[in-house]
Symmetry: C2
Amino acid sequence: MPVSNIDFNEYVKGYPNFPKPGILFRDIGPLLASAKGMYSAIEQFEVQLSGIKLDLVAGIESRGFLFSTLLAARLGIGSMMIRKPGKLPGQLVHQSYDLEYGSATLTIQKDAQVAGRSILLIDDLLATGGTMAAAKSLLQGCGAVVPVCAVVVELAALGGRTVIDAPVIALQVYDD
Amino acid sequence: MPVSNIDFNEYVKGYPNFPKPGILFRDIGPLLASAKGMYSAIEQFEVQLSGIKLDLVAGIESRGFLFSTLLAARLGIGSMMIRKPGKLPGQLVHQSYDLEYGSATLTIQKDAQVAGRSILLIDDLLATGGTMAAAKSLLQGCGAVVPVCAVVVELAALGGRTVIDAPVIALQVYDD
């Protein structure tokens, strides 16, 4: 397929009041359903990542996994999972972070051997940035470098970009 | 990269007694970490799927997502998510199934429009087959055809293949 600049807004569907009242959920289901849309998304990521040395792509559970392996394959590098507690076997490293109510924890495997490696963090969506920032801290705490992060959708009004100390590539930005 | 027949056992690590005593967990982390391993896995899937008409790849949450988009991109078709309750927005279709203790439910979006389409079901691992069989019933109940399923790892002693009324492609089979 040729290089194409598509309107990613056509591949993201808004669902008001999900998962709770007042939230407008931005769903990437239509993007997944479209071979053309997915091809264009991965191509856009690749173009915007050109010139950045990367050794691994780390996908954040669960929807980050939809993009981590696909982009890693395109870049010719490996990938890894960043998961919630209780999911990964073996010796783990943990990072907790605050949510609006309570807290959450992310884990990676010590076997992932991230020390000294340059890692792209990827997820489907950037909201407040809490999860992405915690994932970045987790990798950096293990000696990795995270030169850039990438998402399909950014909810700019929530300011996630401001809490992440690295450039964030976003294919579709919503201001509301 | 050239066509290659690699030993996928080298890319799967066993963790005894995870997630509970007596279970030998088969982890695909090393496969993800290897660009060569992932390339070979997707290539093997493609070779074994040749001649089968497919319209969509459905990945089962969460690790199925690591393969659904990557294989869909390779085949030039779209993908979709099969998820646990509470994760997908919009109108859903549900399918419950029995576990060793209790039950679980899978959901897809009605918007996925699966009726009349030929869908490959994919997950990282086939154990008892309960989840894969429920996912297949869910898609078929919506009018889809599931001509084939695919996994990276099959735990043959658990008999999962016998409860799925379709061929199952597996890259690495363990008998113990």
